[in-house]
């Protein structure tokens, strides 16, 4: 029941914030050198002359009708543009998550199992380094190495999958790594600490005492239990992926909702900002809901607890 309130709350905060920060969208829409009359006309046409609560309810009424409004500048319908851009951001986020999981989780597991070894120290160093660096910088470094020095991958730009699948996927590699490596760093740290805690448990000792293979102990008994906190983080990471996508999409010129939001903020295009934030809030809330459901799949005790 709280979910709609969270989403509505987010829209109210954004609606008010964009109107409080300096910058007049009516002025931006007609150019700063326009006359007073043009600015006032633009303000009226954009419904910015109404009191803020009236503007909000008018917008909300439109949203319930399925209309997220049109860009102040291009007149492109926001919903149309979001539908076109969402798959790009979703693809980038999924690839980034895959990078995060594929690199981060095994690194964390090995680090925990080989605690104190050179491998563990190296992994911990890169872990701290990974989540300390800005993905912006990482993106640029990857471009220099993989697009300039070793011209293997394209340095940004977007080719639709339907036009050329190979070029499309090649174009997604660097953005996905840039966005995914900081996540991998977090996952590696989380997995390590979680695994270390689990490895100390009595049932692990029991499993080993039974004479189980070490691999079986680690992957079947330890890792599965260590994954619970990781799943929570995964839900939270949807927010990170969305905010990270703003920068990564802008750097690499990907037409996702991140770059859409970035350009809208720069130009004070309120309908785009409001529509995009609404969609991001919905995604965030829904993904956390999915995470809650996933708990019961990972840990049957949660499901059993509810039944009791």
């Amino acid at each position: 029941m709280l979910l709609p309130i969270v989403v509505l709350g987010a829209t109210i905060v954004v609606f008010v914030t964009v109107r409080v920060v300096p910058g007049d969208p009516a002025l931006a829409a007609v150019g700063f050198w326009s006359g007073r009359e043009q600015v006032e006309l633009a303000r009226k046409l954009l419904r910015l002359d109404q009191p803020i609560h009236v503007q909000y309810f008018l917008w909300l009424a439109d949203v319930f009708r399925g209309d997220l409004g049109k860009s102040f500048f291009s007149y492109k319908p926001v919903s149309e543009e979001l539908l076109r851009r969402l798959p790009v951001t979703a693809e980038l986020s999924i690839f980034a998550l895959i990078v995060g999981i594929v690199v981060g989780v095994p690194a964390g597991v090995i680090s925990a199992v080989k605690r104190g070894s050179l491998y563990d120290k190296t992994a911990r160093f890169f872990g701290v380094f990974g989540f300390s660096i800005a993905e912006f910088w990482l993106g640029m470094m990857l471009v220099i190495v993989f697009a300039v020095m070793l011209p293997l991958l394209p340095p940004g730009g977007y080719v639709e999958f339907s036009v050329d699948p190979v070029r499309h996927l090649k174009g997604m590699i660097l953005p996905s790594i840039s966005l995914g490596l900081p996540i991998a760093a977090i996952y590696s740290r989380m997995t390590r600490s979680s695994m270390l805690e689990v490895l100390m448990q009595d049932y692990i000792r029991t499993a080993r005492a039974k004479g189980l293979y070490e691999k079986m102990v680690i992957y079947k008994h330890a890792l599965r239990n260590a994954l619970i906190p990781l799943i929570t983080i995964l839900g939270m990471n949807i927010g990170y992926l969305m905010s990270g996508a703003v920068l990564i999409e802008t750097i690499f010129g990907l037409p996702g909702i991140g770059s859409y939001l970035y350009e809208a903020i720069i130009s004070r295009d309120f309908p785009i900002i409001q529509g995009t934030v609404l969609v991001i809030a919905l995604i965030f809330v829904l993904s956390n809901l999915i995470v809650d459901v996933t708990y019961s799949l990972i840990d049957p005790r949660i499901r059993h607890g509810r039944e009791e």
């Binding site: 700063f32 500048f73 291009s74 471009v143 010129g253 990907l254």
Partner: protein, 627 residues
């Protein structure tokens, strides 16, 4: 597997030593394996570091640009009249980049191919009536045509030439008559007639019903001068355009027309706001789709200029990050990039297979000074601000020599209206200190310097701050986005705003957006309280952001008005010469140019005939690609 288990058996018996068990039990094989891993890791690190070092080591060294002052007098014909111009070069910019066409090169244009063109700013409008920035104009110039066009270049002089109009003539002191070319087709197949020209004029000027639903920011240029009553369709191919009764022989008449891209009435009225998403014009390229970050255009096979355009298609791509944009050029993903950072242009130019242009333009980096602030009201203080700035150092270090020092009279030294007596304020901190004392602030004051929060303006602001602090003025830099900063300009709460303005984009005429907007009076009813308080008068329009006031300002306003009421270019030159003296002497608070930056572009050397004019415009129909 057995060995693996054995180690863990030990770990279970002693938890405290669990972490060090491998080290204690490491056998020869494992030691060799670890050593090999370390060696491989170190090898990879050395290769990567070596690669990075080699990359930077092979970059061309920075070029030092020497400052030279040159003057030359040329006599030329502008708009049918003979005019003497004195060209003053305060600095020789970067002559190595003025022209870059390689020597071994086919000279005959080749038809076909797609040009992938990249810019850093996202396009917001494709309807020329709503387009306010250069990025929109880049595209609308490809899809639309105007009655007349600018021709020539800065060195040889800019003139007006007929384009969609076959010819034009002045019929009385208010009106011009334009004969249109016959058989010109819009992209939707309808024929261009004088009705479309009439519709275009009315919607641009703000006198049509279309303007109740959409805003044409350009109306601020035309509404005070052009008269909708004098707009007369004589026949399908003849139209007369006239000015208001109080503006006979309106000087900027023809100079203001190239910006009016002709719109088809039928399509515009039927499509409403969708016209902005599916623009239709008579231009050399047809609009196909606009899906960020790409705007796709294809060749207009029915273009009225036979044989043009050469290209089959153009993709206009937006990449906001300059470093990525450059890498995309150098790795062959795009053909041409606009708006290259000053620091990178020479390196690209020297890269085999690539070229660059650095052309003079009317892109001003200027100070907007709010003269209603008590400490900025005295002209001596404002002069001190200019004397204190080391403009040459800014030009060399921030702009890498790609530009010239701005003239305090506003008009650039390459313009026909330039008064050669006007020279930049020299860098003289001790004189600045004296003037500060003369203005009543011997110990300086604290001032807020608002600035666009991006390169290169933020870098310029740092240097200005350093210079002003050297004469005792405390400076707080306030970076912000351009749009947000203008909110502080409009409520007049700012002190000084360091920003940019490309007037050449809008008109070559000094009246146009230049003198009226920057130094003219405010519109009646706007900022009444301040205008009354300062005893100011009203002007039909004008920004007056600096709130320039006083007897000298009034003299300037009279000259601005006088300059627009004659089309005798020599008379106008004289009037504007006087006006520039006042602006320079007063350091007129609205706009004080510091640097006139060059327009920079880089491209593959297979791209031919790419030329930007003083406003950054280029005509894509002449571009061809060597394949």
């Amino acid at each position: 597997m057995k060995r693996y288990n054995r180690k863990y058996e030990i770990a279970i018996t002693d938890d405290k030593q669990n972490g060090y068990i491998f080290r204690a039990k490491m056998d020869r094989r494992r030691a060799l394996s670890s050593a090999a891993k370390i060696a491989i890791g170190a090898g990879v690190a050395v290769v990567v570091a070596g690669g990075i070092a080699a990359y930077f080591a092979t970059r061309p060294p920075e070029k030092i640009v020497e400052t030279v002052i040159q003057e030359k007098t040329v006599v030329e014909t502008v708009a049918g009249k003979e005019v003497t111009r004195t060209l003053v070069e305060t600095v020789t910019p970067s002559p190595t980049i003025v022209t870059t066409t390689p020597t071994v090169r086919p000279t005959t244009p080749i038809r076909g191919g797609k040009l992938i063109l990249q810019h850093r700013v996202q396009v917001r409008n494709l309807d020329p009536r709503r387009a306010t920035s250069i990025d929109c104009l880049y595209v609308t110039l490809m899809t639309h045509d105007s009655l007349v066009r600018y021709s020539g270049d800065i060195d040889k002089g800019i003139t007006i030439v007929p384009h969609l109009a076959e010819s034009y003539r002045k019929i009385d002191e208010y009106r011009y008559e334009f004969k249109l070319r016959k058989g010109v087709k819009f992209h939707d197949g309808t024929e261009l007639t004088a009705r479309d020209v009439e519709y275009t004029m009315l919607t641009f000027w703000g006198f049509h019903d279309w303007n109740k639903k959409f805003v044409s920011p350009h109306s601020v240029f035309y509404a005070p001068y052009f008269d909708p009553e004098k707009l007369e369709v004589v026949d399908d191919y003849t139209i007369r355009i006239g000015t208001r009764d109080d503006y006979p022989n309106y000087g900027p008449f023809l100079w203001d027309l190239p910006r009016l891209s002709i719109i088809p009435e039928k399509a515009s009225e039927e499509m409403g706001d969708r016209y902005n998403l599916n623009p239709i014009g008579t231009g050399p390229f047809k609009f196909v789709k606009w899906e960020e970050p790409v705007i796709s255009l294809v060749r207009n096979d029915d273009y009225w200029v036979k044989g043009l355009p050469y290209l089959d298609a153009i993709d206009y791509v937006t990449i906001t990050e300059p470093a990525v944009a450059e890498v995309r050029l150098l790795t062959g993903y795009v053909d041409l990039i606009l708006g290259v950072p000053f620091k990178d242009i020479e390196a690209i130019d020297k890269t085999p297979g690539f070229g660059a242009t650095s052309g003079r333009s009317w892109e001003n980096c200027f100070l907007m000074i709010n003269s209603i602030k008590p400490y900025l009201e005295s002209k001596y203080v404002r002069q001190a601000l200019l004397y204190a700035i080391n403009k040459e150092a800014i030009l060399k270090s921030v702009y890498q020599g790609h530009g010239i020092i701005g003239m305090p009279g506003y008009i650039p030294p390459w313009h026909w209206a330039y008064n050669p007596e006007i020279k930049p304020y020299p860098y003289d901190p001790s004189k600045a200190k004296d003037l500060l004392a003369k203005g009543g602030y011997p110990d300086g004051f604290r001032v807020e310097l608002m600035v666009n929060n991006v390169y290169p303006w933020l870098d310029v602001a740092q240097m200005v701050k350093q210079d002003w602090e050297a004469i005792g003025i405390k400076v707080d830099i306030k970076p912000g986005e351009e749009e947000a900063s203008y909110a502080f300009v409009f409520d007049l709460s700012y002190d000084i705003f360091l920003t940019r303005f490309n007037g050449g984009l809008l008109s070559y005429d000094p009246h146009g957006p230049h003198f009226t907007w920057l130094y003219g009076k405010m519109p009646e009813g706007f900022r009444d309280d301040i205008v009354k308080q300062k005893g100011g008068q009203y002007w039909p329009h004008g920004m007056w952001w600096g709130m320039w006031h006083g007897p000298e300002a009034e003299k300037a306003w009279d000259l601005i008005d006088k300059g627009a009421k004659t089309d005798d270019i020599n008379k106008r030159k004289q009037i504007y010469g006087e006006l520039q003296k006042i602006i320079a002497e007063e350091v007129a608070p609205a706009v004080q140019p510091i640097i006139l930056a060059n327009q920079l572009a880089a491209f593959k050397d297979t791209v031919h005939e790419f030329k930007q004019d003083f406003g950054g415009r280029f005509y894509a129909e002449n571009i061809w690609i060597e394949r």
